[in-house]
């Protein structure tokens, strides 16, 4: 399966989705002009991966900042992951960033996937 690898920019996150090496990560800042357009390839990739997933998957979110338009798309990503067996989310937040911690907790209440919280 092909790798989705997007370099991060000042307004879009870095994304690596690599089935072969078992790396699934979204990190950095997310405030794109058109969040639906930006996350479309991510959702498409997850849909394909969901057809033949690994028995266990650890999907990492390590976001420094996201805007409200991105938050809806992050929920869409989580909802897509929800349907994949063996899915786990690792939600990183900066140790003094209570807002990012709380955001992760709220997402965890909106989907039925185990969340693990880690600081960086």
């Amino acid at each position: 399966m092909e790798i989705l690898n997007l370099e991060g920019t000042e307004d879009t996150p870095k994304i690596i989705l690599d089935k072969k090496n078992g790396i699934f990560e979204i990190s950095g800042r997310s405030l794109p002009e058109d969040s639906a357009e930006f996350y479309r390839p991510v959702l498409e990739w997850i849909a394909k991966y969901g057809a033949e997933p690994h028995p266990a998957t650890e999907f990492v979110f390590k976001l420094e900042y996201f805007n409200t338009a991105s938050s809806k798309l992050i929920l869409d990503v989580l909802s897509a992951l929800e349907d994949i067996k063996g899915m786990r989310i690792v939600w990183y937040f900066h140790e003094d960033d209570e807002d990012m911690e709380e955001a992760g907790q709220e997402f965890s209440e909106l989907v039925e996937i185990p969340f693990e919280f880690k600081t960086y």
């Binding site: 794109p32 639906a36 929920l75 003094d96 709220e106 909106l110």
Partner: protein, 182 residues
């Protein structure tokens, strides 16, 4: 050219550290954000306060960009908008002003009053409700950005709608981010 001095004095007396009027696009949003970030960094502001200010700025700026595809008195609406940041000893104020059609004022005012009527837990519930039940294409109607601004600031949103013309009001918004508390 006394207006230059007057403008300068107004900025000083209102404790404004940034004023922007002009074209509001994603590109100008990024420039304004990086300028403000540099300012916050050089003043050694606490990172949690910095993040909240950044957060509120993004939502305020993107609100203006999102509602820019309309002409007001021959000008693009985004060109007729203004964005300001004030810095006082105990708080930052993120302020914006942009034209709004009179028929849309009551709906926006009701949404803002609803948000101001809620405390922390109520805002959290409203945020979750909106994020679950709306799609991204519903252009700003959900007001998720305003809910987020209220949550990040921890204070009530201040707003006014002075009249511009027969068709338009000027939507003025002020969001305060306290500096001393955390």
């Amino acid at each position: 050219m006394k207006f230059i001095y007057d403008l300068h004095r107004t900025m000083m007396s209102q404790k404004l550290i940034l004023v922007y009027q002009g074209d509001f696009t994603q590109e100008s949003t990024k420039s304004i954000l990086s300028m403000a970030e540099r300012n916050l960094d050089s003043s050694g502001e606490e990172s949690s306060i910095k993040r909240k200010v950044f957060n509120v700025m993004v939502e305020a700026l993107q609100n203006i960009v999102k509602h820019s595809d309309e002409l007001v008195e021959g000008q693009m609406r985004s060109h007729a908008a203004i964005f300001l940041i004030g810095k006082e000893a105990n708080r930052y104020s993120i302020m914006s002003g942009n034209p709004i059609r009179k028929e849309n004022v009551s709906k926006l005012q009701a949404a803002l009053e609803r948000i101001n009527g809620l405390e922390k837990e109520g805002l959290k519930d409203l945020y979750k409700e909106i994020i679950k039940n709306t799609t991204i294409s519903e252009k700003g109607g959900a007001g998720l950005g305003f809910v987020d601004m209220a949550r990040k600031s921890g204070e009530k949103l201040e707003f006014e709608f002075p009249e511009m013309s027969a068709e338009y009001c000027f939507f003025c918004l002020k969001v305060n981010v306290p500096r001393d508390s955390e």
